[in-house]
């Protein structure tokens, strides 16, 4: 049991013991999610604000449900409806939320580092729900949790992350968590989206632009969506060419070990990065990731609130 942090801003700075604490706590919450009464009183009387300056539906819903299941009160605050559109600064917006005694601020923001910035003046606990191309820590945690549940361990596994790495906060959070926990990480995709500089992040990381090589020996393949909205000039000629070079097709799937698991943070582009039959196949854990995401986010809120794992037995 190792958790003393006030905020969850990134996975880069988390130790293996801290990561393991979240994963173990999430396992207890997943068991609770399988009960008929899924609610626990851990955050009763606490207020959780979902501050989503960049639009997102699935992450917001997951955090919202996680907070509700912990008995917190939840406010959803999106950029479209907010004063941020009227020119109010993030700092002033957050001060206003804190004047309402918000205890947790879940921040999704298009600017990398926005949660770090917020944590410098916020009294509330800050949870990064995705900042620019920096990190998406709860997504990284739920991916690692899913791998550990399926494969029983992280250490020594070969994990291939395939797709848009350069602009992906999901990739960065996965990279840090996997490398810290001892997995070997292969990053694969077009050279414009998978620069070699990523190999300097950690000795356990390698980069390849050859899909066959990228898939060889993989225990886990995590597919990332091509983020058109973050590209300025198209990083590849066409979606068709991308699919032909890097799409996970049944024939490529046939070269993989039968134990391999296929992951995707969603939303998926069927027929682009992944063939439909693979997304729906037995090796796909895409929907399990969604379920696990809820447990992981409950664990994060619980731990930040000072909760101890033993308390969950009751």
């Amino acid at each position: 049991m190792s958790w003393t942090r006030r905020h969850l801003l990134d996975l880069q700075s988390l130790s293996a013991a801290e990561l393991t604490t979240v994963l173990d706590t999430a396992r207890a919450f997943r068991a609770i999610g399988e009960r008929s009464i899924k609610k626990v009183p851990a955050l009763r009387g606490k207020t959780v604000v979902n501050l989503f300056v960049e639009p997102s539906t699935r992450t917001r819903i997951s955090f919202e449900l996680a907070a509700l299941r912990l008995s917190a009160d939840v406010i959803n605050f999106t950029a479209e409806s907010s004063s941020l559109k009227k020119g109010e600064s993030l700092k002033d917006t957050v001060r206003n939320l804190e004047a309402l005694n918000a205890d947790f601020i879940i921040l999704r923001h298009g600017a990398s580092g926005a949660p770090q910035f917020l944590s410098q003046f916020a009294h509330a606990h800050v949870v990064n729900a995705g900042d620019g191309a920096h990190e998406h820590p709860t997504q990284g945690l739920l991916d690692v949790f899913t791998i550990r549940e399926r494969r029983g361990r992280i250490e020594g596994l070969n994990v291939t992350i395939l797709g848009d790495i350069l602009y992906s906060r999901v990739a960065r959070s996965n990279i840090w968590a996997l490398a810290t926990l001892g997995a070997n990480v292969t990053l694969c995709g077009p050279s414009t989206l998978v620069p070699k500089v990523f190999e300097s992040l950690h000795p356990r990381i390698r980069v390849t632009w050859d899909l066959e090589e990228g898939l060889r020996g993989a225990d886990v393949v995590n597919l990332l969506r091509i983020q058109h909205e973050r590209q300025r000039i198209s990083a590849f000629p066409s979606v068709g060419e991308y699919a032909s070079l890097f799409g996970l097709t049944p024939s490529r799937m046939a070269t993989l070990s039968p134990d391999v698991i296929i992951m995707h943070p969603g939303p998926i582009n069927r027929g682009v990065e992944i063939a439909s039959e693979i997304a729906d196949g037995v090796q796909s854990v895409i929907l399990e990731q969604v379920t696990n995401g809820l447990a992981v986010r409950m664990a994060v809120l619980f731990l930040l609130n000072g909760g101890r794992q033993g308390e969950l037995a009751a």
């Binding site: 993030l90 700092k91 600017a111 990398s112 910035f117 620019g132 920096h134 620069p195 500089v197 300025r232």
Partner: protein, 454 residues
Amino acid sequence: MSALLLRGGRVVDPASGLDQVSDVLIHDGKIAEIRPGILTPPGGEILEAAGRIVCPGLIDLHVHFREPGQTKKEDIHTGARCAARGGFTTVVCMPNTSPSIDNAGTVALIQERAKSAVVRVEVSGALTRSIAGEELAPIGSLAKAGVVALTDDGHCIQNNELMRRACEYARMFRLPVMDHCQDYGLVTDGVMHEGLHSTVLGLRGWPASGEEVIVARNILLAELTGTPIHCQHLSSAGSVRLLREARTRGVPISGEACPHHFTLTDAAIAGSEVFWKGDGSGIASEFFGGHALPSWPAYHTHFKMNPPLRSAADREAILQGLVDGTLTILASDHAPHTQSEKEVEFDDAPFGIVGLETELTLSLMALHHTGRLGLSALLAKYTVNPARLLNLSDGRGELKVGGPADVTVFDPDVEWTCDRADTASRSQNNPFHGWRLRGKPTATLVGGQFAWRP
């Protein structure tokens, strides 16, 4: 008018090569005599300068005083006071004000305000209308109004044909063309140096090649047109290499460096811990002694400027370029922004930091105290070199009997701790807050009058 005797300082005048302990007598705003053992004139004031350096008033040809239009950040009077506190007697204002300095009327407005400023404030005019990079500004009437240089600083003319014509046209008026070197296609919306740290932080990269492409372009156009082009605030190793080769061939091209680019690196944006452990470890051991290292979080916007802080290899190449004479001019790129403008998400913060009050100190630390460059060679980059580039023919930039008594006196060895609130500026966007620094001005004289003394 009374006389002033600067007594017993080490007088360093790069223009004449003078470097010896001597007295300097100032009379009627002019330098009357330079020699050891001058007797105190009757009724004259004495400034003891033993242990101090006495040199020509420093010139910073790259400052943003934000007037007209952005005076909540700075104005000509507050900016000039910063200059005086930093040891500067002449500064050149960049034209990216609001409206921009692209017409004689705005030049006249600044000149009028400058009359009551504590240092000499010169004006640079825009190369293109509204600094939009689309059509030539009225360069002839700007020249007539008295601008000392032309630049679109903050912006960069992307159209090579337009840049060529601007250079050719400027030649008629003997005005140097200065350029902020940035290729918009390569840089797009980059906010920090493209490298390992931008990858980890998930911030948009501003690649060094985005500067080097334009430096190469400027070398070719300086050759083609014969107009001297001065590359402003160079930040990358490649730029220094290109410039070195071109200058060897006699191309009329020059470059300047700013202290933040040869002191800090992009690691600073990953937070103080990363910086002090890595690229800052040499500075920590050399200058901080037992003093606490300042700390700052990752994504701190006081480390966001344009061009951005680059790698340790680039920092070293800039220092090398200063040492071997490839880079002939030092400047601050003093760029004040208010706290509320800087206290935002990194992507949204404006580029720039203040610099006038720390630049001499940081230059002394990186070049003089490390033994890399002699004091006279260093001071040339703040005095005679910018004076020559700007064609200042009134004796500024040197210590000459009969010339204007613009003189800076500084203590090269005094240690002090930088406090960003202790400033004459309207802004406090100073990345060196809490730093242990060595060397500080002790008096700044403009035309024989104290523009500043502690």
